[in-house]
């Protein structure tokens, strides 16, 4: 080892750092064997701890909210995975995402048991949110909104950056994908979706519209028209009463708290152009590019008579529909995206549209504003249904039954004792009938998903898990 002492060995290695007396190679020699095998030993020791151990010990039971996917939804999930949707949409909500104070934004934190079952494989947790998290998406939007949105996201949300899916999916595929989106949030999501479907049924029957087109067919079809032949509202009942039942009754006659100023109207126009024109159109006539996908079609704001004197279109009604959406129609809630003031400003602006304020270079002025007058019939109806004595109409005691809760979410204008007929004169609408209808839709979807999962040969939790009623998370 004399060469080591001199600082050089036979291979011409570099001199030792000052102060070193022995060549380090004598003590810490690494051979190819040590590098390769030692490296692998180190690797597998850590793998045993961070991979093998959690995979074999972490097996959370299904949560009460868990539900399997139907076979159509499983196909949709595969499309979701194979086309990389997870690169912009995460698949779980974090504790900090859930804010009860905000409308509809991520109503609950994802639980380990929500991801139970092999129909949740591969994982779709995701790492980036260019778009929103989708783990809680089920039921917020009806199918016809989803179809227009998948065809071209800018049709329903002009601010969206999402690529259009019209070139990626066939008509069948897009409905599979929608089926997945509407069923992925467990029982609470299925309950919301059941409410959405039941409300769609009510709205279509009440207004005489046909079912919306499936797949992307809406892109090449005319806007649907109502068939009013069979519509005969009961004589003692206000024609708009079923519509009003979807608006909280404290808003029925409320005025706009903001003054009609040029500033407010201009801001209202700005927001309208940013968010509303996809469906309601650049002229406000309800003929935006998304309109032909939707049944019932988007509202037309250009009718002067309707703006001043017709039925249920008071400022409070407009406000409530923008804030919370209109379940059963494609009108989604903007409560999580617009400030309260901005919503009121849009409401102000909408009442100027009949005076062509959406024309280019026409800035709305207070002179364009059409003051709304409730009709006599409406006033009479409200008088009989908004009993102010003892605040009885405003008593919002929550029911314990999740299906009644959901019925109250979809029909917030119905008081517990209320009962009315839809405009076909036959179908009854009350909280009880709505809750029963929602329950039937919910149980049908859940049963079908279970039998599908059984047919796919997947392991399922004990049957009692299915019987656990859904919960309604978040603010209602």
């Amino acid at each position: 080892m004399g060469t080591a002492a001199s600082g050089r060995d036979g291979n011409g290695a570099p001199p030792l750092p000052r102060g070193w007396v022995r060549h380090p190679r004598e003590r810490m020699l690494i051979t190819p064997f040590v590098a390769g095998l030692g490296g692998l030993v180190a690797f597998f020791v850590v793998v045993a701890i961070v991979v093998w151990l959690p995979i074999h010990t972490f097996d959370p039971p299904p949560s009460a909210d868990w539900a399997p996917l139907s076979s159509v939804a499983v196909k949709g999930r595969n499309l979701f995975a194979q086309n990389g949707c997870y690169v912009c949409h995460s698949g779980y909500t974090r504790p900090q995402d859930v804010r009860q104070a905000l409308y509809f934004l991520y109503p609950k934190v994802s639980q380990p048991g929500d991801f139970w079952g092999s129909d949740q494989s591969p994982n779709l947790l995701g790492t980036e949110r260019t778009g929103p998290d989708l783990s809680q998406e089920s039921g917020w939007h009806p199918d016809d909104w989803q179809r227009a949105h998948f065809y071209d996201p800018r049709f329903v949300d002009p601010m969206s950056l999402m690529p259009d899916m019209k070139s990626l999916f066939s008509n069948t595929q897009v409905d599979q994908l929608i089926s997945y989106v509407e069923q992925r949030s467990g029982k609470s999501g299925l309950l919301r979706y059941a409410g959405q479907l039941y409300a769609k049924h009510v709205v279509l029957v009440n207004q005489g519209f046909p079912q919306p087109y499936t797949g992307f067919q809406g892109a090449h079809k005319p806007i649907v028209k109502a068939n009013e032949k069979g519509l005969k509202p009961p004589s003692a009942q206000l024609e708009e009463a079923p519509n009003l039942s979807q608006i909280d009754r404290s808003y029925w006659l409320s005025g706009n708290p903001l003054p009609v100023t040029t500033e407010n109207l201009n801001r209202g126009k700005e927001v309208f152009l940013q968010r509303c024109v996809g469906c309601h159109g650049l002229k406000g006539d309800g003929k935006g590019p998304a309109a032909s996908f939707m049944s019932p079609p988007p509202a037309d704001f250009t009718d002067k008579d309707d703006a001043c004197c017709g039925g249920d279109t008071g400022p409070g009604d407009f406000y409530y529909r923008i804030l919370r959406g209109w379940p059963g129609t494609a009108m989604e809630n903007f409560g999580d995206r617009l400030s309260v003031d901005d919503i009121w400003r849009v409401v102000l602006f909408v009442k100027t549209i009949p005076n062509h304020t959406l024309n280019k270079n026409h800035l709305p002025t207070p002179g364009d504003y059409i003051v709304w007058q409730p009709t006599k019939e409406l006033l009479a109806w409200v008088k009989t249904h908004q009993k102010l004595a003892n605040n009885v109409s405003f008593d919002k005691k929550q029911s314990q039954d999740p299906f009644v809760q959901e019925a109250m979410r979809v029909f917030p204008g119905l008081a517990p004792g209320d009962s009315m007929k839809l405009n076909d004169g036959k179908t009854e609408l009350s909280l009880q009938s709505a809750a029963a209808g929602i329950k039937a839709v919910f149980e049908d979807m859940l049963n079908r998903a279970w039998s599908d999962a059984r047919a796919r040969g997947e392991k399922l939790p004990p049957e009692v898990m299915k019987e656990i009623p859904p919960t309604v998370p978040g603010q209602q």
Binding site: N11, V46, I55, N83, G84, T130
Partner: protein
Amino acid sequence: MADASGSVAEAPAPLTARAQRASPFPDAAARHWILSSIIWLTIVDLFGLVLATEFVTPEAFGGISWLSFSRIRPSHVNGVILAWLTMMYFGALFYMLPRLVGTRGMWSERLGIVCAWAWNLMYLLGIIGLLTGHSQGREYGELIWPIDVALLVIWCLNIVNILATVSIRTIRPIYVSVWFFIASPLWLAADYAIGNVIWHPGHVWGAPSGALDASLSDAILNWWYAHNLFGLWLTPMLLALTYYIVPRVTNTPLYSYTLSLISFWGMAFFYTGVGDHHILQSPTPSWLKTIAEVSSWMLLVPVFAFTINILGTMKGNWDRFFTNLPLRFTMTAFFFYFLVNIQGAFEAIQPFNKLTHFTNFVVAHAHLALLGAFTILGMGVIDYMIPQIFGKPLWSRSLSEWMYWLVTVGFTGFFSVLTLAGFQQGFSWQDGIPEVNVLNQLHAYYIARGIFGAMIVLSGIVQIVNVGMTIFTDTAERRRRETFRVAEAVAPPPVA
């Protein structure tokens, strides 16, 4: 004067031939891997540019299904890792290993060449699959099962080639870089096979395959695997290449053997367990998150060992940072590598992660590693190797300078813009502002990102031009002519 120029003009031919014969190394395998990687770099860069464009105008490629964002993004990510960086690393490995262990080339240069073509074909098929919607749907593990198998077969053949070369070495002690050349491919083979659940083919052509049945276990495995693509392959190879380039170019022995030991074993122990920091707020076990957070900080031990080692070697050699381009690339990459580790350590702990997770901050971080560190190093290594492999100088030094400044400025801008955008998103979300409302605030950032991204694409194209012209023109002759022209200009007049 006429006599003088006439006499010098006779010399070139024999000298060029001699220069091309000078290297005892065939470098055939290295050449195939490296040249493929240069082409792939521009392709995956262009994928990135398509993505950046779609962030600005989502309608830009409307109607072309295979240019859809969600299909290009996996192709971009997989392409950067498996096509560009992996091919560049193997090229560099096949170049450096024979020189370090004293063999005339790899054990089988032919096997290396076959593997290079197979790899190109494999990845081409994989990317066609991704662009037509055939994907496993697991981030960083998107390539479908048959491609995974092909990849592993080629990978194992490369391992055989490497181990066989080491076993026939003539220099018995093995240098630091060779430790990584041996261990890192082994690590990645195991990581790739386990992480892609290779024993679970599923429906090969239909539904997603290669995943565990339990979703959260699958997520744990997914992110353990994904992070180790960087931790056990891309980063160790960065270390190996830096350990080669810096001492070689500066002609200085490595500062400390002990520090390189720490960097090797520290990497093996601490990098393997950090994966769960990608899903810190997900419903996965807390103890696993703790391991991930602690490991992420412990990683700073091998990182500092490496940093000190390289800075020690660079001591007294910083003048060459300005004059030697490969060294400048390498040290720039080294700086970004150090930065990405410090940044990553903070990102991996809960308080910071709560702010930055799901935002563009993470995208910036990923590009700091894959673009700032690995890609810039790769460009430097190619700048260094091409003249050696082809036995003639690079076609244009100024194009190399352009390449350096385009990629460095482009990347720095890109990184800064995305970091700011990430904070904008994080703070807005904390205030309860939903994602879609933040998008229009990000528009300016996205435009800037596209412009900086275009600079990065341009630097890759400059590299193709420079390397291509080096190969297809007689740069040695050109350089000689220039030298003679200068010599002639400054030559003293002939004595009358």
